[in-house]
């Protein structure tokens, strides 16, 4: 099952009530990839976390398939994430004391017993595909690139429909960043997973089907996502 | 914390565990027996005592000053035992007291505070192997409050 994204009149505010982000309209077909770029503090990550259901002060409509995240309770949003969303972060956020396999299969720890074996098996499979040879090593001994691969395997282990990545290559050196970008896009494409990436990394953004630029809390072009092809062209020429 | 309050709270807990309110249980607690009723006029044991032998009974009285410290044993008396030069003659002695062998080490209660000892009534001559004391009537496995 894949989910189409449909955002309408989304408004995100800070706890103080100050508006952070306004998205009049954004759509993404199932299985497609979207890059979000823009200057620091423009609201890129805010959009990403709003789409993951981790933010509270929302107005408007965030539709993933038939589900409107804005209307769900925190608890239901967590359950939605558990079922449909995988996330990747700039700092990997791994448990240093655990081995690669346990990190990649982390969600098995709180999933029902009958799902655990499946999650672990997929985690092992993704680790192997991502070139992590010894999955029983503690991640404390891994390089940055290897860690992010473990994080990718973790995000994919639960078979998500949506993969959200926040600056996944920012902590990596160039060659590792390029290798990870290719793997990330390839894995998402093969699994039919929608991929949304917030990044400053133009080489990564170049791999995306669509790119959205955010500046000052709103899409740089008032038409928003409708104009992403223009952005794409600029990227291609860069 | 006081041992007796602990026991009481334990009882309450045990009562709750079984799901029966303790109050109704206490209401049907059996009657308290007077010390003197355990003895017959001829210094032997009474018919009442004979009929209760081996049963857990409650006897009312006072704790005599202890003969042994930190023991599982005390003497229950009918009246508070103080050294009174007028009222104590040897003839009064045997049917005034009851040996109480307690479940736990005795926490001594002043001799003038009334208490109820509850334990299994035992009859017949018995020499305590530890203290060497001879007694005719005893409460065994007792607690008091």
């Amino acid at each position: 099952m894949t989910l189409a994204l449909d955002v309408l009149a989304l408004k995100v505010s800070a706890d103080s009530g100050q508006p952070l982000l306004e998205i009049p309209h954004l759509a993404l077909a199932p299985g497609r990839s979207l890059g979000i770029r823009g200057p620091s503090g423009a609201g890129k990550s805010t959009l990403l976390y709003a789409l993951s259901g981790l933010l509270d002060r929302l107005e408007g409509h965030i539709g993933w398939g038939d589900t409107n995240l804005v209307e769900l309770s925190q608890r239901r949003r967590a359950a939605f994430r558990e079922r449909h969303v995988g996330m990747i972060f700039q700092d990997f956020l791994l448990f240093e004391e655990l081995d690669a396999l346990t990190n990649a299969g982390l969600s098995a720890l709180f999933r029902p017993r009958r799902e655990r074996a499946g999650i672990r098996a997929r985690a092992a499979e993704h680790l192997q595909r991502l070139g992590i040879q010894d999955a029983t090593r503690r991640v404390a001994s891994f390089s940055g690139g290897e860690r992010q691969r473990v994080a990718v395997a973790r995000a994919l282990a639960a078979n998500p429909d949506i993969l959200l990545a926040d600056e996944p290559t920012a902590s990596l050196h160039r060659s590792a960043a390029d290798a990870l970008s290719q793997d990330l896009v390839a894995l998402a494409r093969d699994a039919g997973t929608s991929l949304i990436v917030v990044s400053h990394d133009e080489r990564l953004l170049a791999c995306m089907d669509e790119v959205l630029t955010i500046a000052d809390g709103r899409p740089a072009d008032p038409a928003g996502a409708d104009n992403t092809d223009a952005d794409k062209r600029i990227v291609d020429h860069a | 914390m006081n041992r007796r309050t602990f026991l009481a709270s334990g009882l309450a807990t045990a009562g709750l565990l079984v799901g029966t309110p303790l109050v109704s249980r206490l209401a049907q607690a059996d009657t308290v027996i007077k010390l003197r009723d355990l003895y017959a006029r001829d210094r032997g044991v009474s018919d009442l005592a004979l009929s209760l032998e081996g049963k857990r009974i409650t006897v009312d009285g006072f704790m005599a000053p202890p003969l042994k410290a930190e023991s599982e044993f005390f003497v229950l008396t009918r009246i508070p035992m103080a050294v009174c030069p007028f009222c104590e003659t040897e003839a009064d002695w045997p049917d005034d007291i009851l040996a109480v062998y307690t479940k736990r080490t005795v926490d001594v209660v002043p001799f003038n505070i009334r208490l109820q000892a509850r334990g299994v009534l035992e009859l017949g001559s018995y020499r305590d192997p530890e203290t060497g004391f001879l007694s005719m009537v005893r409460l065994a496995d007792a607690s008091y409050s």
């Binding site: 990550s45 976390y49 993951s52 981790l54 608890r75 967590a78 359950a79 939605f80 994430r81 558990e82 996330m87 972060f89 700039q90 700092d91 956020l93 448990f95 240093e96 004391e97 655990l98 346990t102 982390l106 969600s107 720890l109 709180f110 017993r113 655990r116 926040d166 | 914390m1 602990f6 334990g10 009882l11 807990t13 045990a14 565990l17 029966t20 249980r25 206490l26 857990r56 005599a64 000053p65 202890p66 003969l67 042994k68 410290a69 930190e70 023991s71 003497v75 050294v83 009174c84 104590e88 040897e90 002695w93 045997p94 007291i97 479940k103 001594v108 509850r118 060497g132 004391f133 001879l134």
Partner: protein, 438 residues
């Protein structure tokens, strides 16, 4: 129901009480942890903050250990001193302070005491209910050992008839305590008085004793004592020896009232339980004598000690609670350290209950570990203290952890584990997104 409870052995009663204390914790634990595999993460967190965790465990252990050592020690002291007085049911002495007389006769502490005369002794010894009436004549010493004059019968009573070697057959033979520093066959010369000044040559009695028997350890100050026939004590002081001239070689009772120089104390033993009480009131009625149960004096002493203990128990309980509170506070602060991990779990869609399970389980390991270690620390501290007291007083004190300490430890663990819900709940209130981004 009540009969059922009363009929249970102590172990079963204690287990049920312990269960009652720990049941809420088991329920909380089960409710939080059910269906999750949280142990991997708890282990990881324990390892990550291992030094801080070790500090918490040690803090809790010391707090719990001090409390339980104190209680165990006080009980050990009571049991030890009670056991040392076990053979002294009824003591008859000249009127005075019961405490002084008890310390002198039971614990052999030197003190200035009066004498009971011959007719008084006779009256007691001839009483039909009295099984043993032994004079105790103390005052002399040899080195650090008090020399006590008494009867062979009392020596047998004191040792449960298990003297190594034999009892005395003649006046100048002695039976020594296990720690008196004399062996069978040794000879010695007692001196007047007890303590530092005793033992000066000028003060020595001109009499030589031979050791013919040795008592087993009793765990009381009598282990250091030297027992001799009471006749010998009288004779070395130049007094009549308790017997008429025509029977002057006799040892032990019956004594002649006319030739009885006096004794500071008489140990009385009656076979029948009630007779002890009857004799006590009978001899108390006499204006020349005072009769009391050393156990009663001890019990009064214990009551005072018990009040002190209770005050101290409350202090230690408060200390424990303060330690627990500071540990929980520290955990609350520490929970900020793993805020990123918690935020990650939330991002993965972990339910609140799982986050609480991880944090509470982590606290539970520290608290339970500290409490168990604390009981060990308590036992260790109590053993050391007991050894010191035994060495100084000759009263064998053995402090072992009892149910009371275990109950207190269980109560402590129970309350603290319930409070450990607070850091668990605090974790839920932490902002997620801030912690996901560096």
């Amino acid at each position: 129901m009540r009969d059922f409870w009363d009929g249970l052995p102590i172990v079963a009663q204690e287990m049920l009480l312990l269960g009652a204390w720990l049941l809420p914790i088991l329920l909380i634990g089960a409710a939080l942890l059910y269906g999750f595999a949280a142990t991997r993460l708890i282990r990881a967190m324990l390892w990550r903050f291992r030094w801080a965790n070790l500090t918490f465990v040690v803090l809790i252990a010391v707090a719990v250990g001090m409390g339980s050592a104190l209680i165990a020690q006080e009980r050990g002291l009571r049991q030890g001193s009670a056991k040392a007085a076990d053979k002294f049911d009824l003591l008859v002495t000249p009127p005075g302070s019961e405490m002084t007389m008890m310390l002198a006769a039971v614990y052999l502490q030197p003190s200035d005491v009066g004498l009971l005369d011959g007719p008084t002794y006779q009256q007691i010894a001839r009483h039909e209910r009295v099984e043993i009436a032994a004079p105790l004549a103390f005052g002399d010493s040899y080195r650090q050992s008090p020399v006590v004059g008494t009867t062979a019968e009392f020596t047998r009573h004191l040792t449960d008839d298990s003297v190594e070697g034999r009892l005395w057959n003649t006046t100048y033979e002695a039976v020594v305590g296990a720690a008196a520093g004399l062996a069978i066959g040794d000879t010695f010369q007692p001196s007047h008085g007890v303590g530092e000044e005793a033992g000066l040559e000028a003060d020595s009695h001109d009499a030589h004793f031979e050791v013919v028997g040795r008592m087993p350890r009793t765990g009381s100050p009598w282990d250091r004592a030297i027992l001799v026939p009471v006749e010998a004590v009288w004779e070395v002081h130049g007094l009549a020896n308790g017997h008429a001239p025509e029977r002057r070689d006799q040892l032990g009772p019956p004594f002649d009232a006319d030739y009885f120089p006096g004794t500071p104390a008489i140990i009385v033993k009656a076979e029948e339980l009630w007779a002890n009480y009857a004799l006590r009131s009978e001899f108390s009625r006499n204006e020349n004598t005072m009769a009391f149960f050393p156990a009663t004096v001890l019990t009064d002493l214990y009551r005072v000690m018990g009040d002190v203990r209770q005050a101290m128990s409350i202090t230690t309980l408060v200390t424990q609670m303060l330690v627990a509170a500071s540990v929980l506070l520290a955990l609350l602060i520490l929970s900020r350290l793993f805020a990123r991990q918690m935020a990650l779990l939330r991002a993965l869609g972990a339910p609140n209950r799982f986050l609480m399970a991880v944090v509470w389980g982590y606290c539970a390991v520290l608290i339970l570990g500290g409490t168990l270690l604390g009981l060990g620390v308590g036992q260790g501290a109590a053993s050391v203290l007991s050894a010191v007291i035994t060495q100084r007083t000759d009263i064998l004190v053995e402090a072992r952890l009892g149910w009371q300490e275990i109950r207190l430890a269980a109560a402590f663990a129970g309350i603290t584990l319930a409070l450990a819900m607070l850091p668990a709940l605090a974790v839920l209130r932490q902002p997620t997104v801030t912690h996901l981004r560096s």
